[in-house]
Amino acid sequence: MARIWPIKFRTLGGEISPDYRINGGAIDRSRPVPFRFNGRGYRGFAGDTLASALLAQGVEVPENVSLLRAGEKPAATLTAAQELFDDLTARHRTNGHFRRFLPGYAPSVETGSDAEVEHVYDKADCLIVGSGPTGLATALQRAEAGLDVIVVERDFEFGGSLLYDDQWIDGRAPGDWRRAVLDRLLVMPKVRLLNRTTALLREGETLVHAEERPQQHLTMRDPHLPDLRIRHIQARETVSAAGIDDQIFPFENNRLHGIFKLEYALSLVNRHAVLPGHRLALYVGHTDGYRLAASLLARGLRPVAIIDARAEVPDVCHRFARQAGIPLYPHHRVIRAQGFRRVRRVVIGKAGQDPVNRDIHLDCDSLVQSAGVIPRTVPELLEEGSVLSVTGRTRGETLPHLRRGPLFEAQTRAAAVHRTIHGWRLAAAYPIKGEKVRAASHREALAAWTGVAMSDLSHLGKIDLQGPDALALLERAFGGWASLKTGRMRPFLLTEDGGGALASVLGWRLAPHHFMLTMAAGSLATVRTRLERLVAAEEVAPRLKMTEVTDEWGGVALMGPKAEALLAGSLPMSVMSENLPPMAFRDFSQDDLPVRLARISLSAGAGFEIYTRAGYADILWNLLLEKGKAQGLTLAGTVAREILRIEAGRPGEREINGRTTAADLGLAPPDRLEGRHKSRLQLVGLKSVSHEVEGKPAPPLSVGMTLYEGDGTEPTGPGIGEITSACYSPAHDREIALALLSDGRARVGTLIRAATADGRKVIDVKVQPPCVLPRKEIGHA
């Protein structure tokens, strides 16, 4: 690793001194600031930058350093313009690379990945980038006109060049003028002055993205503040007053240490009271560059030479140099800088002449240069990703879209193991006495066959559809709705134009012009998009209102032979068959609790769905839990419901995938097959028979296994189908699956084989109808 040594220089008098601090400047000498750099202790003053404090003690500074706070990992990369604060601990950023010191104020775009980033959306009439004389004067003028004004300043001090320039404004010294204007702006309620904020990118005419670093000047990290604040500032007018940047001359070795830009050198001398070097040469291409020489002379210091690249140097420059006693080399150029790490000498020659034997060697320890100046501007965002590290921050914050149902807290109390499915935090299972999720799920699924199980349905997608034209829309999307009577439900399959099945929904007719659709959470977006497209395709806006009401309702499913008995003891309404036939529902009140009760069994066996308004869902839950104790009510999670779905042979999202048709899934007669979706892949059930043959527990079937003929040939190639859902069925005591199988229904009763992709696991399975638990087995289970 490169070591950074304090470099000592000889002054004109020949004495060695590492001290580059001079009198004056805007630093507060009454407030010394201790800090550490590369493991060594130093001391600067309040108002110093890290670079100025180091340079004052003769320490070269690399371009970037990493900021460390006690006990923390490197939090961010800073430029050398980092302001000094008590006990700042910093180190050289690049191991083994000693990088040239290019002091400046480039935005520090690197931030640790774990940094807390906050976005702020600011609005103003006028945004002013930079707080130099132009910026402050403009801010005052706009604020006095009654406008909302935001001033962003990348430095920790407002003032820009006013902090180091000596040109008077309106008859006042720059410092006095700055203080007077700032005092007025600070009390104006419509003015916001944002320091430590760098304008990063301009997007369009009115939007500027800026970054603010609220933490990087604090000794102790403030836990309430973000590390980085991205401000998206929208303003009708943006004034760029970010000052100027020096252009540099091309010459050999111009990356040596000790070579500075003019504006920065001025800032070092006049603001931070630090000499860039004791023997300083000035290399300029414009008269304004002589300002540094004037500043040094005012402090009793004289540059060793001025090299002026212009062919015609104005008389005023000649007079200045003559009177100051500074050798002037007009129409000369620097050919090369010499030295090890730091400049020791520059070789200059007459511009336009053969340099051989005509070179002049100037001994110096620093060279300040400015070929000309260009105004600083905010770069424009041309296209997304053009400046990736910066444009990424122009995007706003996105919250985790984790949804929690109204029974989430009640489930947590019931020791549920939660998992995230389709963006919902759902109870996967309710283990008891140290059970694993798998064992708990088997117990819960079995309870749905033998007793009564309760499962949360609140996350099911729900769409409310009302209006005189609602029925026509549903007819177009699904078909078959006209015959659905009020108070009844029916399953429908949403298909695309070519016949591919997109989603399965349960349709409820609440009133002649009022419908509700419930569906799996993962299908909600598909159904809503499809319906919205159909509405948008109408020439005349249809009289209907489609609203997602998922969050309005909380509900549970009661499954099992004892479900009816439980309900009869819990709710005042009789749920006798004659009052509530299958696939029918009723709305009623229970102790002012609005209840919607439906007799429905989409899994095998008896079942009910009970909904109430979401805010009352836990009351319903607790009521049923209490009443269910006598019936041995078991809570069932999503894993158990998935087992019940596979046992019942109901197609899920892996079977209803846009490529299968209603006929493939066994939901429509085969003779209705038509179009490009005509397919030979048909939904079937499978059950493992391996253990019957080998007399040991069957290896598990798994989703994605390829199906092969059972004729004894090697299971290779594309196969004849694929397993789409699989589980262990506790009621059947074997591995079962749903599969899409070529000519599936014709193969019912035959033996085939399921194999993993690597061919290591091959299991014999028997093809069955999708529902693997016929009625007689249900009774047995």
Binding site: E118, H119, V120, Y121, D122, K123, D148, D222, P223, H224, L225, H232, Q234, G396, E397, T398, L399, P400, H401, L402, R403, R404, G405, P406, E409, T412, W424, H459, D464, Q466, G467, P468, A511, P512, H513, H514, A541, R543, K545, T547, V549, T550, D551, E552, W553, D591, D592, L593, R613, A614, G615, Y616, A617, D618, I619
Partner: protein
């Protein structure tokens, strides 16, 4: 009616938090019992229903789009063309549900689908500016105005009942994420949960 269960149950803890060295910049209050109805008027019945609604609610005329009208027990919000909402106590809500026939329009109760948070205090605007892109200055979003917007991609409805007071209607299932975001961003200002 039974007590409504909060969507923030287990999350909303009363007290002062964040930077408490000064007066809290923001105060949060969850309003648990309220009615929120979305009212849609079909195009052809819009004019007749306007006057019918105004008469029913005892106001001169419906508010302009993006504005709201204070009622005796709530507020009528004009969200978009032909789209209104009622936010307030339950009694007028019941009347509205009965008064609007399917031929004129429809009413969708969504009070349980939303979590209603009231934000007050001198830093309420500063807090909301950390998540809401729209212009919240007094001139652009005046007292009484309403907007549908989003916080971090989650759709919310924002109402400004007073200069330093905002009502935020958040989808119930996203309420915890929004609540966590609000309290995290309010910490630098100091906040109080009532």
């Amino acid at each position: 009616m039974p007590d409504r269960n909060s969507a923030l149950r287990g999350q909303r803890i009363h007290g002062q938090f964040g930077n408490i060295s000064k007066e809290p910049g923001v105060t949060f209050r969850e309003i648990k019992d309220f009615s929120y109805l979305e009212i849609t008027l079909w195009d052809w019945a819009r004019d007749s229903l306007r006057s019918k609604l105004a008469e029913l609610l005892g106001i001169g005329d419906l508010p302009d789009t993006g504005d709201s009208q204070r009622l005796k027990e709530g507020r009528l919000l004009h969200l978009a063309d032909g789209s209104l909402a009622y936010l307030g106590a339950a009694a007028p809500a019941d009347i509205l549900e009965v008064a609007i026939t399917p031929e004129e329009g429809c009413v969708v109760p969504l009070g349980h689908a939303r979590c209603l948070l009231r934000l007050e205090g001198p830093k309420a605007v500063a807090l909301l500016r950390r998540g809401i892109r729209e212009d919240l200055r007094d001139t652009a979003f005046a007292v009484g105005q309403v907007m549908t917007t989003d916080i971090g991609g989650i759709g919310v409805l924002l109402l400004r009942p007073d200069t330093a007071k905002f009502d935020l209607l958040v989808p119930r299932s996203h309420a915890i994420e929004v609540w966590r975001w609000l309290t995290r961003r309010a910490a630098p200002f100091g906040y109080e949960v009532l």
